[in-house]
């Protein structure tokens, strides 16, 4: 299993690489959502040239509109020439442009909450999509079942704040406009019924995150995916550094103490790994 990091800043790429990270994901400026680190095409080119011994994935995961299609195509043609390991996509415009132009760059199916079954994985695999990031909302058993039934290379987030929803609306800005107050940050914490969440605004819209850090360290050796994602968003750098080191310990040496150490740092929220969503439409007669 490889560790793939979603870093908060460009300087951390080298630092985390030294600790042992195998790969990195960052956004493309203007075309990603939910990434602290978004780079221009030139910056991506420089990063790749400076670190040839590591894999880079670029997230183009925003919803695309007509007036962005030309630029999207230019970007994909540009990235195709670089040694990008893969491009994460949400909008099918990305896949269609790849197919139309017969691009060789690999794609990562990254439809956030929709990567939930192996049949759809196989559908995209047949379309030439090599990787996918499984949804945070499915169980360990479901993830492993997908792995068993597809040739796709799987990613799963094991540490990070889970994204719950994404809107095109500027919800935070709207709040401050309506209350005649000044927005001073792109992130604010929300509380409802004693549970914490946070909202993050960027140009393409607003995302709401669950307020507990997902901790999948205890299942790292049971999780049959190829890439485990650690997302630095809203996590203190010094803690995140330790988390990478400890995860490597778990993968390489099955170190139980490392699992305990991680729990001390970020708690033991295991998301949906062992919790099936219970609500489902009733059976047909």
């Amino acid at each position: 299993m490889k560790l793939v990091i979603v870093p908060n800043k460009i300087e951390n790429i080298k630092k985390y690489r030294k600790i042992g990270a195998d790969a990195f994901i960052f956004g493309l400026k203007g075309f990603s959502s939910g990434y602290s680190l978004t780079l221009t095409k030139e910056e991506i080119k420089n990063v790749i040239e400076e670190s040839s011994d590591v894999d880079f994935f670029v997230a183009i995961n925003k919803n695309i509109f007509n007036d962005e299609l030309n630029e999207l195509e230019d970007n994909l043609l540009f990235l195709d020439k670089l040694k990008v390991k893969g491009i994460l996509f949400y909008d099918l415009a990305v896949l269609n442009i790849k197919l139309k132009n017969r691009l060789s760059v690999d794609l990562v199916w990254n439809q956030t909450h929709m990567v939930t079954n192996y049949k759809t994985c196989n559908y995209y695999y047949e379309k030439g999509v090599k990787y996918c990031i499984v949804s945070n909302e499915i169980t360990l058993e479901e993830i492993n079942d997908i792995k068993k039934n597809t040739n796709m290379i799987l990613f799963a987030m094991i540490i990070g704040y889970p994204i719950m929803s994404f809107s095109r609306r500027s919800l935070l800005s709207n709040y401050f406009i309506s209350n005649n107050k000044k927005k001073e940050s792109s992130i604010y914490w929300l509380t409802n019924n004693n549970e914490k969440y946070f909202i993050r605004e960027e140009e393409s819209g607003d995302a709401i995150y669950y307020g507990k850090i997902l901790n999948g360290s205890a299942i790292l050796n049971d999780l049959k995916v190829d890439y485990a994602i650690l997302n630095e968003l809203e996590i203190e750098e010094s803690i995140f550094e330790k988390l990478i080191t400890l995860c490597i310990e778990i993968i390489n040496n099955k170190d139980v103490n490392a699992i305990n150490e991680i729990e001390k740092l970020i708690g033991n929220y295991q998301g949906f790994f062992f919790q099936k969503t219970i609500y489902k439409v009733k059976k047909n007669d």
Binding site: N63, I64, F65, N66, L69, L72, D91, L92, A93, L95, N96, I97, L99, T112, H113, M114, T116, N117, Y118, K119, T120, Y123, Y124, E137, I138, E142, D145, N149, P162, M164, S165, F166, S167, R168, R169, L171, S173, N174, Y175, S178, N179, Y188, W189, L190, T191, N192, E195, Y197, I199, I208, Q275, T277, I278, Y279, K280, V281, K282, K283, N284, D285
Partner: protein, 393 residues
């Protein structure tokens, strides 16, 4: 003859389906008891789907079935059989979001597939992808503008369907799992708990943070939407009441017909907007159609729904010889109230109630019990399934 744009209504059960068709919908979308995104609607059994298609086809109208949950591995078992049975029940189209199902249905059955809005399709290039996959119609994301719709239609020959009326999601369809985290109910498998309508405390601010949207209402700009070339205009709300559906469908039917016969004008639009506002339980806006949705399209004070008691009764029968209408009561009314009856064929009659009788013709002055059978003197014949409401002023 010009083919009119389709008016597409939701229906949560057979009663609603029949009402919507009688009041002017050209097609209905329904959910089966599995694989549909509105688990709280009654939804249709296979027998009911058969009855629905039979009823609709006799009127030369159509029925579409939503099959738009985000499938988990466990949901795959049985879905093929279910599709076959629904095809045998003569469904006109499936509304699907998952591409493997799109392909499966198109490869195996001669039936239309409409791409669900759950797929959040927002651009021409994505539509080209779906056209290659033989999708017959794309239900566009609610985040696109009329200008963008026109750009798409100018460049590709595919049927587009758009929402025109009803509740809106705060988030992109398919990009929201709030219910999963708040309630363990799966948003994308029919369990949406409308968490976006909750109020939150935010850091140290005293004003609550809310993200609830106003509803959509495109009555004023319907002409622009039709002129853009869309093929279907969709009403939201499989869980809405028969009265709501009758009112909304009836209004949009009039607007659409007026557009095509060249009589659509500001007066007609204002009149129908007034009627629509009487069944609305939230304020409305045009969201993304005319501009990017902004702070004016939301609420900032928590839940904003208001209840509505305009609906007075459903007409069951008219006795021509005694000039008596029989209805089943829905809300309080009394003698001397000014009311109006609107009919499936599009007529509206206003009158003052003189006497209120119970089922046995005892004079009772006031109708105060829901479902009570009531008789009224009415001088003119009234179609069955007409509805009585408080007079719209």
């Amino acid at each position: 003859m010009i083919k009119k744009v389709e008016l597409l209504s939701p229906a949560g059960d057979l009663e609603r389906l029949k009402i919507a068709l009688l009041y002017g919908a050209d097609a209905i979308y329904i959910g089966g008891q599995e694989y549909s995104l509105r688990a709280n609607a009654n939804n249709f059994s296979l027998e009911e789907i058969k009855e629905a298609t039979s009823f609709a086809h006799k009127l030369d109208k159509k029925v579409y079935l939503t099959l738009n949950i985000v499938f988990h591995n466990e949901d795959l078992y049985g879905v093929y059989e279910f599709i076959k049975k629904v095809v045998d029940a003569k469904i006109d189209a499936f509304i699907v979001s998952d591409p493997f199902l799109v392909k499966y249905i198109k490869d195996n059955f001669d039936v239309e597939v409409h791409l669900s809005t759950q797929a959040s399709t927002t651009n021409l290039e994505a539509i080209k992808f779906w056209k290659e996959e033989n999708v017959d119609r794309v239900v566009l994301a609610r985040e696109v503008s009329i200008k963008e719709i026109k750009e798409i239609i100018d460049k590709i020959d595919i049927d587009l369907e758009v929402f025109i009326h009803g509740a809106m999601c705060t988030f992109y369809s398919g990009r929201c799992c709030l219910s999963n985290y708040f309630t363990n109910r799966d948003s994308n498998r029919g369990g949406c708990a409308q968490i976006c309508r909750f109020a939150f405390d935010m850091d140290n601010y005293k004003e609550k943070f809310t993200m609830a949207t106003k509803d959509l209402n495109m009555a004023e700009y319907l002409d622009k939407l039709i002129a853009s070339g869309v093929k279907s205009l969709k009403i939201e709300g499989r869980m809405r009441s028969p009265y709501y559906l009758a009112t909304v469908i009836s209004s949009y039917r009039k607007l659409i017909d007026s557009y095509y016969n060249g009589t659509l004008n500001k007066d007609i639009i204002m009149k129908e907007e007034k009627i629509l506002s009487r069944v609305a339980n939230r304020e409305t806006s045009t969201h993304y159609y005319m501009k990017k949705a902004d702070y004016t399209d939301q609420y900032y004070t928590g839940r904003q729904e208001v209840s509505n008691q305009d609906y007075l009764g459903l007409i069951l029968d008219y006795d021509q010889s005694n000039k008596l209408v029989t209805l089943t009561q829905r809300n309080y009314f009394k003698e001397n109230d000014e009311v109006e009856i609107f009919t499936p064929s599009g007529n509206t009659y206003t009158f003052k109630i003189d006497k209120v009788y119970d089922e046995n013709m005892n004079s009772i002055e006031v109708a105060r019990h829901p479902e009570q059978i009531i008789k009224l003197n009415v001088d003119f014949p009234i179609e069955k399934n007409s509805m009585m409401r408080i007079k719209v002023k």
